[in-house]
């Protein structure tokens, strides 16, 4: 398979085009809603039979219909996929590791551009997720809300007027909503400001997580900011709290970038071009180094130090260089050291495409 065709399959259409507000810092926005049906036991304790019934019921009610702009939904059952196919869906953030490996009769409904995913028989009966490019919390809230109403036309949700939407885990009860924004914050990390900002963010009831690779290290200066609590506030208020913090982080990251540029422009140029050179020439590269170098190059692009390379390259290669996709591209199972060789090759090829 050609690399171009492989990429077109590997990268979700929603990531490649459309509005991209604050795209120099915010990679993507996600809204997730956890929902359950009344009376059915939750998936974690449900029998095979009950899970099967639920999947059949929910998918029959939803799969034949269309919701507005998102297009038709395709049902994909976990039992029909190979382990590597599941792994790739996880690497694209379209399903959770839990759905891939632990669910009974787990399935996902995906729309064509993969911006909407509705997981069935995850930890909750239904996990609805909407993905957007850049910083689009309001759009996310409107779409997830509409889809939620649309699903509710056909199934009766487990809801209690006092507790809200009833979920399997006590941490999700109430709105069942997790809103998150993925940010690229290299300058705040470089200037060691993020460590200082973090405690304040935690105090506002928000969580910051690094993005993990194969190990437990943070990769590529990517951070996910999301609401921690789901009970006691409206969805709109929760999203407003998150929006406020994200806007501040955007401002501070921009200020830190400008400061770096003013104070040490040539060192910055050296850093980003050095990483570019390493990506373009290496023969062995582990995921940790790849993420670090890609972050540098992306920063160089966003700061206008590197021209003629698309900013999408970080998001794309972060996904493409994960084990599932490397194996798919190699069309075989790879040991970790073989992956590092393949990873280096794939990155070189991808950068060559950019130069054509």
């Amino acid at each position: 398979m050609s690399l171009e065709r492989f990429i077109s399959q590997a990268i979700s259409p929603w990531m490649k085009s459309g509005p991209d507000p604050d795209g120099d810092i915010v990679i993507s926005t996600r809204i997730r809603l956890a929902r359950n049906l009344e009376h059915y036991p939750f998936p974690i304790i449900a029998s095979e039979e009950s899970s099967q019934t639920l999947l059949h019921y929910v998918s029959r009610e939803l799969a034949q219909r269309k919701y507005d702009s998102i297009g038709a939904l395709e049902l994909i059952k976990m039992d029909d996929l190979s382990p590597n196919e599941k792994r790739m869906l996880v690497e694209k953030h379209l399903i959770s590791p839990y759905l891939a490996d632990k669910s009974k009769h787990g399935a996902v409904l995906l729309n064509e551009n993969e911006s909407v995913s509705i997981m069935i028989n995850e930890e909750d009966h239904i996990r609805l997720q909407c993905l957007f490019r850049g910083f689009q919390l309001s759009e996310g809230l409107v779409l997830s809300n509409g889809l939620d109403d649309w699903i509710e036309e056909k199934v009766t949700y487990a809801f209690d007027e006092y507790r809200g939407y009833l979920t399997s885990c006590p941490t999700n009860v109430g709105t069942g909503m997790r809103a998150s924004v993925m940010m690229h914050l290299p300058a705040l990390v470089m200037t060691k400001q993020l460590n200082r900002i973090l405690p304040a963010i935690n105090q506002l009831g928000l969580v910051v997580r690094g993005i993990y690779g194969e190990g437990s290290e943070t990769l590529g200066n990517l951070f996910q900011i999301s609401n921690q609590m789901t009970l006691g506030k409206s969805e709109e208020d929760m999203v407003e709290d998150l929006r406020g913090v994200v806007m501040q982080l955007i401002q501070q990251e921009r200020a830190a970038r400008e400061k770096l540029l003013r104070a040490s422009r040539i060192q910055m140029e050296d850093k980003v071009y050095r990483s570019f050179g390493i990506l373009a020439n290496s023969r062995v590269m582990d995921s940790k180094e790849a993420a670090k170098r890609l972050s540098d190059v992306r920063l160089g692009i966003d700061m206008d130090l590197i021209q003629g390379v698309s900013g999408n390259i970080l998001n794309e290669l972060m996904i493409l260089t994960q084990p599932g996709f490397l194996q798919q591209y190699a069309e075989s199972t790879l040991a970790p050291n073989e992956r590092d060789i393949r990873r280096a090759a794939l990155i070189r090829e991808r950068l060559m495409l950019e130069n054509e």
Binding site: Y40, A158, G164, P170, T171, T175, R209, K233
Partner: protein
């Protein structure tokens, strides 16, 4: 101050984490912080399950107060069969009915997990929406009614009583459809 991890280098990074109102502090040198995976990610993601399960056990009554001869009947959900004890072990509910079965024990748990909150303030499902609004209205009228009775304004109280009856009657009617 010395680093908590290695006890060798000077602690230059100081973290405060508030989990459910409880303050935790950590003082690390940069190297150890780096070992911990750029510090914050691990810091935030250490198993929420562990946290929750610890918390749930904490909330279990330490039955020292009443030395009754009868062992208390274990709390078990009629719909899914999950016992309260099992719930505290796995940290997950078994079905929507569990919330009703364990309801008297849940407030302290939710308060800790959700920053002091126990009550939903967000979206209401469309189909159930109307019914719940009426219920909220009735609740409100009942409070008013009590106030009028206390201040011996019986005429107004009687009017409210009739309004409540009317709303309740309509609601039952609606359910029969």
């Amino acid at each position: 101050m010395l680093c908590e991890e290695c006890q060798k280098r000077q602690a230059t990074l100081h973290f405060t984490k508030i989990i459910n109102g409880q303050k935790n502090e950590m003082h690390l040198c940069e190297e150890c912080a780096k070992d911990k995976g750029e510090t914050f990610p691990n810091w935030n993601s250490y198993s929420i399950q562990d946290l929750l399960s610890g918390l749930l056990h904490f909330e279990q009554p330490k039955n020292g107060v009443r030395s009754s001869s009868k062992a208390p009947t274990p709390l078990v959900c009629n719909n899914c069969g999950l016992s309260y004890d099992r719930f505290t072990e796995i940290g997950k509910f078994g079905c929507s009915e569990c919330y009703r079965t364990f309801s008297t024990k849940l407030d302290p748990i939710f308060r800790r997990v959700h920053g002091g909150n126990t009550r939903h303030a967000g979206k209401i499902p469309r189909r159930e929406g109307g019914k719940i609004e009426v219920k909220r209205k009735i609740e409100e009228l009942r409070t008013q009614l009590r106030r009028h009775v206390e201040s011996e304004e019986f005429e107004e109280a009687a009017r409210l009583r009739d309004e409540i009856r009317h709303l309740e009657f309509n609601m039952q009617d609606g359910e029969g459809e």
